[in-house]
Symmetry: C2
Subunit: 428 residues, 2 copies
């Protein structure tokens, strides 16, 4: 335990250079806390000749991350390349195959291959750690896996895509439409090359799938997640929600129901005065609920060099200290396959739709809801535009299948223009 811990870092983007910087700047601090020196043996990235604003002299260079993972002078392989397959996965497999510990920030890879990689890690006695893959600098993987290990986890919620939260709060603050703020976010470099990863909820969904596995002892199953993005949220929705004391968030919820595991990432209404409702800009927040602890709320930066590198370092420090944990909190072989809940717990819903402005239209909508046993908490028809009438409805608590049936019934009335927006009102 007093020998040097030697890192090989694959990927020298924002996070990779951030890790290099911490290892260099805090060598003494880290040695004091772990009882051993932490050094970097070698690095790897796509392009070698590029000024990254960090000193790389003295580190060996590998063009091939797999070769880096296999180096004899690398004890811990730090994978910060990204991509669910390809070189990242190949290199991680190479490292685990040799029994080397792996630290990664790669949510996509783990959301899809997490079970297989965890099994490989455990078969070889290696660690596979991923604090940085979920909610950036917030130590939520640790909080859930270790801090709340005495609890039966009842629910995990989170706003875990800073870009979406930026877009939604910016729309509200500046009273701007979605498209305009989306372009702003793109210009600011907040969006992934494929923006669907952000605004479609996929990136946040990957993170939620990882937390759900730890929380409920199930195999990571991103395919079982219900995904809905923020693309259809209008400034009208945001205003109407605010009027009623709510804010709209791209909210992930994982919950074990009597009928299996529900995992969904979707825009929801949450009370404006709740911690989730108060979350501004690109911040992330995770809410953990356990049978003993009640509700724990964690808030912090979900991305960026410093926060993400901080999370990578926490895994490295754990390894340096000799801490050994199963990847998802219990042996991979003991994780059960996800039994997917087909429906969420009942909740009130917010509905917005545009009706043709003719007599009886609203009555037909109300009838369609009533036919499914859904009662209306409030209904509002507001400012007419052309020949149409925007209508807002908040239902009492209802099951989602009943709501879907009612939406089907509404569509069949022929009085609705376009597609209604239906948002769950989550009790947080």
């Amino acid at each position: 335990m007093t020998t040097t811990l030697r890192l090989g870092i694959a990927g020298l983007g924002t996070v990779g250079t951030g890790v290099v910087r911490i290892v260099q700047r805090h060598a003494a601090l880290l040695a004091g806390r772990t009882g051993r020196e932490i050094t970097i043996s070698a690095v790897s990235a796509r392009t070698r000749d590029k000024d990254r604003g960090v000193r790389l002299q003295g580190y060996e260079w590998e063009d091939d991350p797999v070769a880096l993972a296999r180096r004899d002078d690398v004890d811990v392989f730090v994978e910060l390349m990204g991509g669910s397959d390809g070189p990242a996965k190949a290199a991680v497999e190479a490292a685990l195959g040799l029994g080397k510990d792996v630290v990664t920030a790669n949510k996509a890879m783990l959301a899809i291959h997490g079970q297989a990689l965890a099994e490989q890690a455990e078969a070889r006695g290696a660690a596979l750690r991923f604090e940085a893959a979920v909610a950036g600098g917030i130590p939520v993987v640790k909080a859930l896996t270790e801090g709340l290990a005495g609890n039966e986890i009842t629910r995990v919620m989170g706003v875990m895509n800073g870009t979406c939260n930026y877009i939604l709060t910016r729309m509200e603050d500046a009273e701007l439409p979605y498209d305009e703020v989306f372009e702003e976010a793109r210009a600011l470099g907040y969006l992934e090359a494929d923006p669907t990863l952000d605004v479609g909820g996929i990136d946040a969904g990957h993170k939620l799938a990882l937390l759900a596995s730890i929380a409920f002892g199930t195999q990571v199953d991103f395919g079982a997640m219900k995904l809905e993005g923020i693309e259809r949220i209008s400034i009208d929705d945001i205003r109407q929600a605010a009027d009623m004391g709510y804010r709209i968030k791209l909210l992930g919820v994982a919950q074990m129901t009597g009928r299996g595991l529900m995992q969904r990432m979707s825009p929801c209404l949450v009370p404006a005065d709740s911690p989730l409702g108060q979350l501004e800009d690109a911040m992330n927040m995770v809410v953990l609920e356990g049978d003993s602890v009640g509700q724990i709320v964690l808030r912090g930066a979900g991305a960026g060099e410093g926060p993400t590198a901080s999370a990578v370092m926490s895994d490295i420090v754990d390894i340096a200290r000799g801490t050994r944990l199963s990847t998802f909190g219990k042996p991979a072989a003991s994780l059960s396959p996800v039994e997917k809940a087909t429906t969420s717990t009942p909740a009130p819903y917010y509905l917005r739709m545009t009706l043709e402005d003719k007599p009886g239209a609203l009555a037909k909508i109300a009838t369609a809801l009533g036919a499914e046993g859904i009662s209306i908490d409030r209904m509002r028809q507001y400012g007419h535009e052309d020949k149409t009438a925007p209508v807002l409805i908040v239902t009492h608590r209802t099951a989602r299948p009943a709501l879907d049936a009612a939406l089907q019934g509404m569509a069949e009335t022929g009085v609705i223009v376009g597609e209604p927006v239906a948002l769950r009102i989550e009790s947080v």
Copy 2:
């Protein structure tokens, strides 16, 4: 690692029975997560014949906690008796002396004897863990020691006494004076037998001293803490603060300054729209700031059976999993003695005082401030009562010694009735 981990639990109050309940209810869950069975061998408490609503049959009983700590069938001694000295300390020392791991929720004992106990633990190769001693169910010791281990910690802040936060928010919500809410809190059983522990900031100060040690690699030094309670906060202060967009919190701040470690627990003004400002009722919140991670906010229940027992269990699970950590995050021998900062960083201050209602009184006060180079951001003289005039002043950023000198100068003018209230406005 596959053998049973056997607990001895000393203290069967709220937290102790909570731990018993979790061990019983979640035996399978805990075994799944740790790979071993966790059982209770023996328990100890002041009175044996008392219905605690939990099954104790099958556990050996010890009248003497020291005898419990020494039992051969106890691997981990769980100290939940409380008290900084006496039986709790004697029993913990007995356990550590035999090289047994100890889990405790005893903030007073650790705030005073933490360094000596950590040294004893490390000398014997035993663990001494205390997640439950700070902020109840919030896994803040873990977040700071492990989750943020790659950071130089720049500041730790916290609202860590739920009773004080209850009193302050209740005063505001119900517009009730301090004395009345204090009696309410007493009737609700929220106050310690010696209420000064709560409202004097001592209990919260103990917690802050523990976090400061981890954050800054210093020996726990409760004696070096500046302590100020909430006893002098009036409903007027709360209203005036609210008018200016602030709320008053009993806030702990630990910060390494150029001139040593500042630790203080005192009522402060914080922005009403900050996470700390929004904290309601008996909730706790800890804010951790690091050079890489930025600001992390943790919120949860700071007391109560479930939350505190959850924290105790997280330490027990860590031990069961084989995780070994120094008590304060690095070897006790390497912790440096506290070099106590004699002054806080400069800040704006809120001042409230009552002046004799005669010409020139206000001018004398303004002159006393000006004499120390303190400029006034705003000043307000409001509603007269009898022959006196309440005055509110917010200063620009100033050093505390200058403020103290100005307060001295004001006192010498002879126009102040009673003692002024001076509260720091903390930038959070």
